[in-house]
């Protein structure tokens, strides 16, 4: 018999949990195994937000296949009172809703943990382990009996496991109810149906086992002033607030949601309510070659233009990147890195495009790179990237990755200073041209390597000819040795200016003086911070430098100089950041050691801890 909507009275408990189960309060990982295309995303969001609203720091990692429907997919939610948001390799609660992956899912549960499966069908033989609690609930049967429509049943089965977890983990049902009401504000019938599904799971769990489990949630106040957001949405907001008007792109995982979000925000905030006129232009290009060309064309014409892409797109964009570097046209590239080489694993994460972007295109080229560590920095660095690109008149790369871009991170609420004004760089208008005897495009008048530029359509005295072929400081074609060298040497001078303008690296000192240092960047930050706290408890102290940009500033040189051994964390096989540090700083190569993680999964703190401990043990033995 269906439960009345919103009825919160649980059924009596019938099963005791085994005494072996370890008490973990507000510090656990839930992993949900489902089949992709069955609508589990909204159920997982509901679960994560419920924890967040209870004041418990939480993050979500989506491990999904490159597929539309029918393949295994997982979502990991980590609740951690201390606020550590990196992926944890240990799963405390497995929600095994996909029989295809039972064997693997069972294996991943940490000792003392819990596995919840759908007992509508007989328990599979492989679901046997003595050191964990295995709970079977007939979720599909309950849902099928309760909901007449087949289409609804699939979705509600997912909602039902949220109900079961609410009972097992002691989630606040009032919060769950409020979240449903917010999600379906315009569809009250859906609120009722979802709540019924919640209660089916909730009551079934209470009937099956003594709830809540020792692994559970309890209200905290650690999420005030925080939000849950993915990096691509945050980067899109950064583009919106930076005043970007032209976005050109070719769809590619995992960058697509950046343009989707930009479009959605523009529709809402950049569309004239009366005329419907849009104060932006988004072009879906025929390929990444064209997307890069459009961004370069728009940047030349004076718009703030960007393209979101991933590694394979960067490969194609190389010719226009080199062109923009040599002709000095601002352009912003968001590279949401995924596993390479080639097509690689499109739905897995890596930091594998560092070198490809730093020196993208043939000839002597070098490009500023920004390394956001989380969605908060995707927002601020997006705006910074446009300012840098226009100030330096050059392509700038924001190197995000799939982990930051597509996963749900808890960060401080985004803030925007209404006094912010875009730095459009050295652009001459008619008034400035009036004061000039003659305009020359590539003349370094200020000694900072940055020449003055003009925009088409403004003043014929500013007209010049952009060419990727050899040109002299006046903008004219040249095949003259000295004239050619004069321009590329100035570009190197501009690079020195870039060193002063990009965000400086952040140094975190250990509690104790230490000859050991660790360098990381981008999405590794969360895991490194957690690892450092674990290591500190074990008496191992390291100073930490977090790179925010390339070119490297003086602070990076100083950090390298003052430490005997420096560990460089790279989420790629070939230690790309270590290579870049070796190439671009004065560090002795033997000082640098790598901690590498490149299996495509987000970096866990354990990998960093193991890397440091392994290296220290080796050194001790040697």
């Amino acid at each position: 018999m269906p439960n009345p909507p919103g009825r919160l009275t649980p059924m009596p408990a019938t099963v005791q949990h085994p005494p072996a189960m370890e008490g973990k309060i507000n510090d656990f990982v839930i992993k949900i195994a489902t089949v992709n295309g069955t609508g589990s995303a909204s159920a997982n969001q509901l679960l994560m937000k419920a924890l967040f609203r209870m004041g418990i720091p939480v993050t979500g990692k989506n491990l999904f296949p490159s597929n539309i429907q029918g393949l295994p997919t997982w979502y990991e939610i980590r609740a951690n009172a201390a606020g550590h948001g990196a992926r944890s390799a240990a799963v405390d609660v497995m929600v095994a809703m996909n029989a295809q992956t039972y064997t693997q899912d069972l294996r991943e549960v940490a000792g003392g943990g819990v596995l919840l499966y759908d007992a509508t069908w007989p328990r599979a033989r492989q679901l046997q382990r003595d050191d964990i609690t295995i709970i079977g609930l007939p979720l599909a049967r309950l849902v099928n009996e309760h909901f007449p429509l087949a289409r609804v049943r699939i979705l509600m089965k997912n909602i039902a496991y949220v109900g079961a977890l609410a009972a097992l983990l002691d989630l606040d049902l009032e919060i769950v109810k409020t979240l449903l009401e917010e999600s379906f504000a315009s569809k009250p019938k859906l609120v009722t149906a979802n709540l019924e599904a919640i209660m089916l799971g909730y009551n079934a769990a209470r009937a099956a086992i003594d709830c809540p489990l020792p692994i559970r949630a309890t209200p905290l106040t650690a999420t005030a002033g925080k939000i849950l957001i993915d990096g691509n949405s945050a980067a899109a907001l950064g583009c919106l607030y930076a005043g970007a008007t032209v976005g050109a792109w070719y769809p590619i995982t995992p960058s697509t949601s950046l343009m989707d979000a930009f479009k959605a925000y523009c529709e809402r905030y950049r569309t004239d309510p009366e005329s419907g006129e849009r104060r932006y232009c988004i072009i879906q290009a025929e390929d990444e070659l064209a997307a890069a060309g459009m961004v370069v064309g728009a940047g030349w014409a004076g718009a703030r233009a960007f393209t979101p892409t991933s590694g394979p797109g960067i490969s194609l964009m190389n010719e226009l990147i080199g062109f923009a570097y040599y002709t000095e046209i601002p352009a912003v590239f968001f590279d949401i890195q995924r596993v390479g080489p080639s097509t690689g694993m499109p739905t897995r994460t890596q930091q594998c495009d560092v070198l490809a972007c730093a020196f993208a295109s043939h000839g002597d080229t070098r490009h500023p790179l920004l390394f956001p560590a989380d969605p908060g920095e995707c927002f601020t660095f997006a705006a910074a990237a446009f300012d840098l690109a226009e100030r330096l008149q050059t392509p700038v790369f924001v190197l995000s990755d799939l982990d930051i871009g597509m996963n749900d991170w808890m960060i401080d609420e985004l803030t925007f200073d209404d006094h912010y004004r875009p730095d459009r760089g050295k652009v001459l208008g008619a008034a400035e041209l009036d004061k000039l005897e003659k305009f020359h495009r590539y003349l370094d008048r200020d000694g900072d390597g940055i020449a003055w530029r003009t925009l088409p359509g403004v003043d014929r005295r500013g007209a010049y000819f952009v060419r990727g072929s050899g040109h002299n400081r006046y903008g004219a074609y040249t095949e003259d040795a000295a004239e050619y060298q004069d321009v590329v040497d100035r570009l190197l001078g501009k690079w020195q200016t870039a060193r002063r303008l990009v965000p400086a690296a952040e140094v975190h000192r250990a509690a104790r003086r230490t000859p050991l240092g660790i360098i990381a960047y981008g999405s590794s930050n969360a895991a490194v911070r957690e690892a450092l706290s674990i290591l500190a408890k074990a008496g191992v102290h390291l100073d930490y430098l977090r790179l925010k940009a390339f070119p490297f500033g003086d602070e990076v040189e100083a950090f390298l100089a003052e430490h005997q051994s420096v560990y460089v964390v790279d989420q790629n096989r070939d230690a790309q950041m270590k290579s870049l540090l070796t190439l671009e700083t004065g560090v002795e190569k033997c000082k640098l050691h790598s901690i590498l993680h490149y299996n495509g999964l987000p970096l866990p703190a354990q990998a960093v801890v193991a890397g440091i401990e392994g290296a220290l043990n080796t050194e001790a033995v040697a």
Partner: protein, 351 residues
């Protein structure tokens, strides 16, 4: 090389256009192409067209890719910004520039290598997107800068300077453009300025992409006997199907040139094209008819010229994108930034 400045040779009493500019104001630096190159005649026709239409060079962008043809934007309209981009990528760069500033008057110059080989995809997609650009293909059937390889527009049976006979099919940009749904498709010949200048003017006035394929013989590598893109061969196989007179908005049309044959097509800016039929049954509004006619002339080895297809009703890129009338580059930052309160509002459903 394009660095030779052109001496200015003005004379009193030279004609001025509506802006008070002389033809010289529409010229550029001195051409470094081979003497007799078809491209230089096209440059002269471009200068003539812009001068006669009294377009302010300040508002013009001259776009090109790589190749002999792509050098030519340096040789006209020195008062306009020029952009010599990457091989085959001119359409994308032009698309971006026009997205940013829709008020710019855009002329793109490509060659057959630039448009039909390395840039064939961008050629097709610029048409599909219908960007507001006059797109010229200076078509000589050969790679000149790399010394005489066949291009994709070389006709089957055409002979290379070194004697090789082309056995691959030719890509006809006109037929392809019509198939792709281009709204303005013409073919001209560098040796027929009388036909070319009105085509250029009509193409500039047309809203959306106007493609003109211009047979432009390469005197150094493709002007020999046996070549189907030589001056001699083009002249002997030249077949104008229709003549297009361009009429500026202010000019009242008193009579059509050939009574009963002239048809007036009004363009978006108020100017018009008067089409004079040379072939009685040729109708540039009949897409399948034009394609059939092109096929027939290809079979006969004719070079069919004129304004071959015209459709003034297609939505241009910005119509589709719904972009505001003001160029995006002219918008104030205040019109783009939603402000901190909106940011707080956006984040309300992120907790």
């Amino acid at each position: 090389m394009t660095f030779i400045p052109k001496p200015r040779v003005g004379y009193p009493g030279q004609p001025r256009n509506a802006l008070g500019l002389t033809k010289e104001d529409y010229e550029g630096s001195l051409s470094t192409l081979c003497a007799g190159c078809g491209h230089d005649s096209i440059t002269a026709a471009i200068v003539q067209a812009f001068f006669e239409m009294a377009i302010d060079p300040t508002g013009v962008i001259k776009m090109s890719g790589i190749g002999c043809s792509s050098k030519t934007p340096a040789y006209f309209l020195s008062g306009a910004h020029g952009f010599n981009s990457v091989h085959g990528r001119m359409p994308a760069v032009a698309t971006g520039a026009l997205a940013a500033n829709r008020d710019l008057v855009c002329i793109g110059v490509s060659g057959d290598g630039d448009a039909l080989s390395i840039g064939f995809g961008q050629f097709a997609h610029a048409i599909r997107r219908n960007i507001d650009m006059l797109y010229l293909i200076e078509n000589n059937g050969v790679y000149g800068l790399t010394k005489g390889q066949f291009s994709a527009s070389a006709d089957p049976g055409s002979k290379a300077k070194r004697g090789e006979i082309n056995r691959q099919q030719a890509i006809d940009p006109v037929a392809v453009a019509i198939t792709l749904g281009c709204g303005f498709v013409a073919r001209g010949f560098s040796g027929d300025k009388e036909q070319l200048v009105p085509l250029l003017k009509a193409g500039l006035a047309h809203r959306g992409l106007a493609l003109i394929d211009i047979i432009s013989p390469c005197v150094t590598f493709n002007d020999h006997e046996g070549s189907t893109k030589s001056y001699a061969h083009t002249r002997s196989h030249y077949r104008p199907a229709i003549f297009a007179d361009f009429v500026p908005p202010a000019d009242e049309i008193l009579t059509t040139q050939s009574p009963g044959e002239g048809r007036r097509v009004v363009l978006h800016d108020g100017s018009s094209i008067v089409l004079r039929r040379i072939e009685a049954d040729f109708d540039p509004a009949d897409r399948s008819g034009v394609l059939a006619r092109l096929d027939a002339s290809r079979a006969k080895g004719e070079v069919l010229t004129g304004l071959l297809y015209l459709n003034e009703e297609l939505p241009e890129m910005h119509d589709v994108a719904g972009t505001c009338r003001t160029p995006l580059t002219a918008l104030d930052y205040a019109a783009l930034n939603p402000g901190s309160e909106a940011l707080a509002e956006i984040q309300r459903n992120m907790r």
